[in-house]
């Protein structure tokens, strides 16, 4: 039985998520402690800034209470507080949740791709710590393969969902590659800084910053690893850079159409990408019509974000449909493996019953020749049901495969004994066993 206890941005406030997060270097110890909890045989802990997911396989149902208690104790939290803010899933629902989490369907930003890497990392740590076993190994490998398939077939992560991301997406429509590009920042406010950081994260390496107050430009230039220039030098810089990012508090536009037109010749046809995130706008809208100049204001970016969110929601619906199939496939495997030991135990027991019966009749059989005795023993053994019959009893067998009587691959932990057993054998043996 797989049990999952977790908290995410919907179930728990940030303050609690921060305190509940288990640091990466403490994970192996935490996994070991979680495995000490009664009945937990395998465990994986995913802990990011937005979620904590404790995935465990336990021999018996109802492990959620113990896992909640473990989380409270491990992080020094009030149990009642943990109980209020966590969710728990068991069995198939738990597996379904892990599939959804890894695909970013449960993320604050729908379909964000980082979470898959975080789940992979969490699994690696658990595997290295020896905390995983056959079931969670299989579950997570299945999840990773499914996440990859879902991402390529739905394209969920492709659509921009933040203004900074939208700007980078638009830039990629113009430039081959953002690496090594130069950018000019007009204004040293919070918004420009955020957008600039995102561009830098995309590989834009040459940042020039200017501001009416030079000192603020210099401070931001230090923070971003760029260079600051005096405000009145920016028109010349327009001739040189690939990207212009404006976000000043000016009441009227600071970049005119004439200024941009004047540098076009010097740019020799190099495209100029201008993002104006200021309100009111910093760049005259007429700049738009210039050949080779691509100007976007905050509404344009928001439009890309809205379209991206829409696309992601559509993709998420499709992803959920695909994941349902993956969950079913995983479940089929899980049932067979979880019943494997049960089937083996049941078969051993039935063989035991057969041996006991032979011993009970030993005196009456004493007159038989060794060949006859061997034949009787053989009969008792082969009268025990075959694996396929157990699977039929548990509703696991494919009906048509059974009807045709085709051979099936044996399931883990339950080898099919050789020899043909008569099909009515099991009932007789079971009844015989109960009668005594």
């Amino acid at each position: 039985m797989i049990t999952l206890v977790g908290m995410n941005h919907r179930s728990a406030p940030l303050d609690l998520r921060e305190r509940a997060r288990i640091p990466e270097d403490e994970l192996p110890a935490a996994l070991a402690k979680l495995k000490e909890a009664a009945g937990v045989e395998e465990a994986v802990i995913v802990a990011t800034c937005n979620r904590v997911e404790l995935i465990a396989r336990s021999a018996r149902p109802g492990a959620a209470n113990e896992i909640r208690a473990f989380l409270a104790a491990a992080r020094g939290l009030e149990l009642s507080e943990v109980e209020r803010h966590v969710y728990d899933y068991e069995g198939l629902d738990a597996a379904r949740h892990v599939f959804g989490v890894a695909c970013g369907l449960d993320s604050m930003v729908l379909g964000e791709p980082q979470i898959l890497g975080q789940v992979k990392r969490a699994y690696e740590i658990a595997r290295e710590a020896g905390a995983t076993g056959p079931v969670l190994d299989r579950l997570l490998q299945h999840v990773f393969a499914a996440a990859k398939r879902v991402r390529t077939s739905t394209g969920i992560s492709r659509h921009a969902v933040s203004v900074a991301y939208a700007a980078a997406t638009l830039a990629r429509g113009i430039f081959d590659d953002l690496r090594g590009r130069s950018a000019l920042l007009l204004g040293a406010g919070k918004m420009t800084e955020l957008a600039a950081r995102h561009l830098a994260g995309q590989g834009v390496s040459d940042l020039t910053i200017t501001n009416r107050t030079y000192a603020r430009a210099a401070v931001l230039a230090d923070g971003l690893g760029g260079s600051a220039i005096p405000w009145d030098e920016f028109p010349a810089a327009l001739a040189r850079v690939d990207i212009v990012l404006t976000g000043t508090a000016a009441a009227t536009p600071v970049v005119s159409r004439a200024q941009v037109r004047d540098v076009l010749r010097a740019r020799r046809g190099k495209p100029l990408f201008i993002v104006d995130i200021a309100v009111p706008r910093d760049v005259e809208p007429e700049v738009r019509s210039l050949d080779g100049v691509y100007l976007y204001d905050i509404d344009d970016l928001q439009g890309v974000v809205d379209a991206g969110l829409d696309e992601r929601r559509k993709a998420a619906d499709e992803a959920r449909r695909l994941l349902d199939l993956e969950v079913v496939a995983f479940d089929r495997w899980r049932q067979s493996v979880e019943l494997g030991p049960t089937i083996a135990a049941l078969r051993d027991r039935l063989h035991g019953v057969g041996r006991e019966e032979i011993e009970r009749f030993a005196r009456r059989l004493s007159g038989m020749s060794p060949e006859h005795k061997a034949a009787v023993e053989e009969l008792m053994r082969s009268a025990a049901p075959r694996v396929r019959m157990y699977r039929e009893i548990f509703g696991l067998a494919e009906p048509h495969a059974n009807a045709r009587g085709t051979g099936e691959a044996s399931e883990p932990g339950a080898a099919d004994p050789p020899g043909d057993a008569p099909s009515r054998g099991p009932h007789r043996v079971i009844q015989g066993g109960r009668d005594t």
């Binding site: 638009l170 429509g173 081959d176 046809g269 344009d300």
Partner: protein, 261 residues
């Protein structure tokens, strides 16, 4: 036999263009790959068919408008397969195979009674036609990239918010490929015109006869010359470049009138 091969090539080309285009647009990997395979098959079939016809008729199969379009379509297909496998720019499948398909399909609609190429100066005829056709194929790639450029440019400037049009590569990419194609196409076109004049002299004892086959290539050459001059001397790129490249290729295609009349 050549005829059956040509028909098979056309069928494979139409099928391949449709599969590759749909596969790329709807992002269906299987369709895209099947399309690429069909296009490769069409390329091979067309090549064999042209060779068979050339050997049977003991001539380069570039003797009339129909044959010109067949070979031009084959060249465009060659460039498509080369670029597709080498550059990994998948969106090429949206434009180049359809262009090749239209050329080859049109070839089957034109009268194919062989006319030119059997007079004196045969060697010049071979030179002239094959070089001019290869040049036009490169210019067709430049044309296709210009069309993609305008589509992408327009989407990025759309009123009511930019469209991303992620299936079309970045403006820089289409500009780069189009320019490279132009840098191959323009010299080939130049050589084609000069060898054409030499062939003309052999045939008619005159350099210039005011036929469509002379006027349109020279007009196209003039447009491309302006385009290149503007780009190198003035740094003109973008939409104006794209319009010139489209106009130049269009003028070049009008040469066909001189071949079917």
């Amino acid at each position: 036999m050549a005829h059956a091969l040509f028909l098979a090539a056309l069928a494979a080309l139409l099928l391949g263009a449709a599969l590759a285009g749909i596969g790329e647009w709807r992002r269906r990997e299987v369709a895209a790959r099947a399309g690429a395979a069909a296009l490769a098959m069409a390329w091979a079939l067309e090549f064999v068919a042209l060779t068979v016809r050339g050997v049977t008729d003991a001539s380069v199969p570039l003797r009339n408008g129909a044959e010109y379009l067949l070979v031009l379509g084959w060249f465009v297909l060659t460039l498509h397969l080369f670029l597709w496998f080498r550059s990994g720019i998948r969106a090429l499948a949206l434009v180049l195979p359809p262009i090749a398909a239209v050329m080859v399909a049109a070839a089957h609609l034109l009268p194919s009674d062989a006319r030119s190429g059997n007079g004196p100066g045969k060697i010049w005829f071979v030179f002239h036609t094959s070089i001019a056709t290869a040049g036009m194929a490169a210019l067709a790639v430049s044309f296709a990239m210009s069309v993609l450029f305008l589509i992408k440019d327009r989407a990025l400037r759309a009123r009511g918010g930019p469209k991303l049009l992620t299936r079309v590569p970045s403006l820089e990419t289409v500009d780069r490929i189009g320019f490279q194609a132009l840098m191959w196409g323009f010299p080939l076109l130049t050589i084609g015109i000069v060898t054409g004049m030499v062939y003309n002299t052999e045939l008619h004892d005159r350099l210039w006869t005011w036929g469509f086959k002379e006027v349109f290539p020279v007009l196209a050459w003039g447009v491309f010359a302006v385009l290149l001059w503007a780009r190198f001397a003035r740094g003109v790129r973008g939409r104006r470049s794209a319009f010139l490249s489209i106009a130049g290729f269009g003028l070049g295609l009008l040469t066909l009138f001189g071949m079917v009349r």
